[in-house]
Symmetry: C2
Subunit: 339 residues, 2 copies
Amino acid sequence: MVTITDISKACGVSRATVSKALNGAADISQETAKRIRETAAALGYLPNAAARALKLGRSYNIGVLFSDATGGGISHEYFSRILESVKSEAERLGYDITFISKDLGRMSMDYYEHAKYRSCDGVVIASADFQDPAIIRLASSEIPTVTLDYSFDSRTSILSDNVRGMEALVRYVHSKGHRRIAFIHGELTSVTQKRLASFKKTCAALGLEIPPEYIRTAVFHDPRSSGLQTRALLALPKRPTCILYPDDLSFLGGWSELERHGLSIPGDMSVAGYDGIPLSQILRPRLSTYRQAGEEMGREAARLLIEQIEQPDTWIPQQITVQGELLPGDTVRDLGGKS
Amino acid sequence: MVTITDISKACGVSRATVSKALNGAADISQETAKRIRETAAALGYLPNAAARALKLGRSYNIGVLFSDATGGGISHEYFSRILESVKSEAERLGYDITFISKDLGRMSMDYYEHAKYRSCDGVVIASADFQDPAIIRLASSEIPTVTLDYSFDSRTSILSDNVRGMEALVRYVHSKGHRRIAFIHGELTSVTQKRLASFKKTCAALGLEIPPEYIRTAVFHDPRSSGLQTRALLALPKRPTCILYPDDLSFLGGWSELERHGLSIPGDMSVAGYDGIPLSQILRPRLSTYRQAGEEMGREAARLLIEQIEQPDTWIPQQITVQGELLPGDTVRDLGGKS
DNA sequence: ATCGCTTTCTTAATCGATTAAGTACATTAT
DNA sequence: ATAATGTACTTAATCGATTAAGAAAGCGAT
């Protein structure tokens, strides 16, 4: 391994000079700096990240936290897109990505300890149980964090526009003539609370009365769970004409159930998803859904986290909301009639 | 930050003693060791990974390489499952995961340099262009590597059973009475070569003559590309009765195309995918496909890599093949008749 | 000639942990 | 009584990089 010592010997200068030259310090002459840079390149020098991290207390490494328990693991298209965009933005800014988890081999540690152990400069909390004390500890620590789809006090967060998204979906469905709209929502997280409140408010604004049995709880990203709720809806004496699902993946579970009842989409039942993952637009019929801008959220999360890391003095916590867009798709039938 | 120095002061021993006690060295008395461990716990001591990595030349960190250019990025369900299982197995064994990419901020480096810079103990090469000189450099370096679905000489690799998988699919489709079988395959990687060879061999063994225009090239995981090839197949004077797709996701592109022609699955056209991602079994009809055991591949990759890292002396390169299984699904129509 | 001021470099300490080599003391063997 | 052995520590160097503080040399001004 080539170190600055090798370069210093080759150039006949001290190690300090090499370090300064490579970091562009002011008190090194142009010629010396050039000679050192060229020698470094010729020898194939690479800085040692561990040594640097030790000395600087900065690792140029940010943690990403996905707690799989919440059903929002890496394998879900929505989250993997976020991961990918966090990764590429972080890399663009010179940071690597490490996963933060509970426990590492024999060592048992919580998220905060794991992040400290790896001296992460900051952590993106992408999907987690925000009630978990271990998450709260991390988000209250001195380690900079950015949360996605949840806000801690005095912390930066990137939020998707759940209120507007839900409103857009309801208004769209309403504009197609639907009045009996069912809403299968996810478990009661802050995201669900926003969507649910927005659903109710928008329905009220449109003068719709939604019977309580039209509002049902399922589990996010779990087709089986939403399938069961779909079955329950179909068993009602007065069926809805349209079902809103917690997310695109959950819709697939509903789809199976509708098939089983011999109901076609959108002929016999209209449906809409949420998330707007690429898959939703590959399917036929294309799913009517609301696209959450995962790429943008990931990018913003990485950007703001690194901004906070690099300019701690001028930094102030921000809550950024990223706008999505309605993807009309073909799964909401036009019932005609204006009212 | 609590360091061994703090513990040594609190316990009235030298730093060396603390280090040895915490690492279970033999020349520390039981009582002292116990006292040190307790003090460490009380003070909330955490080892500093950077200091350790610097001194030991071991980081307990393994790199994972996904080059997105190949279309096998993190967002694809098959690869994200692999990533997830590599991650959890590595964590179980006490290793963290860092993504390895080309270029990091202003520093331009190749994969090998990146891995060295972070002093990764090893790298799992999960999806990459294996002809890329940068990949070859990494896989020829002193850094332990494990490749997925490709074998480098004298290196460990985890292979899925492409030959058997393809054979199983063809035999299954044949058993349902299909004789005019088209095969849309991915771009010409080593995986494609194996599948293609197996396809041809199995067809020959079954006495099937496949016209060359039934064998077409698309791009892996690209629904649009396979949609185009599907269209080309449908334009043939003598259409196939069954289309095999490069992967499950590509099938979706074909599906859209079939819909556009008013063809139903499997009534008017039989199809099969490859990969067996969870999505394929949520769809209705359930996709006939061959499940690659991504979880197992990831787990084995991590396990073998770490074995190689920790026991370099007894280590020998291995090529492990992980068996998948046929998922019959409902997209291959039974044409009846035995011959 | 001397002082002050730059410019350009070096010295030496430091980050936190590990470990070979050394020391002090007690115990056992001869 | 002396040597040999073992136990339980400490000392000090080391990993590779950074940086405050110091030093040497050059230059102009007085």
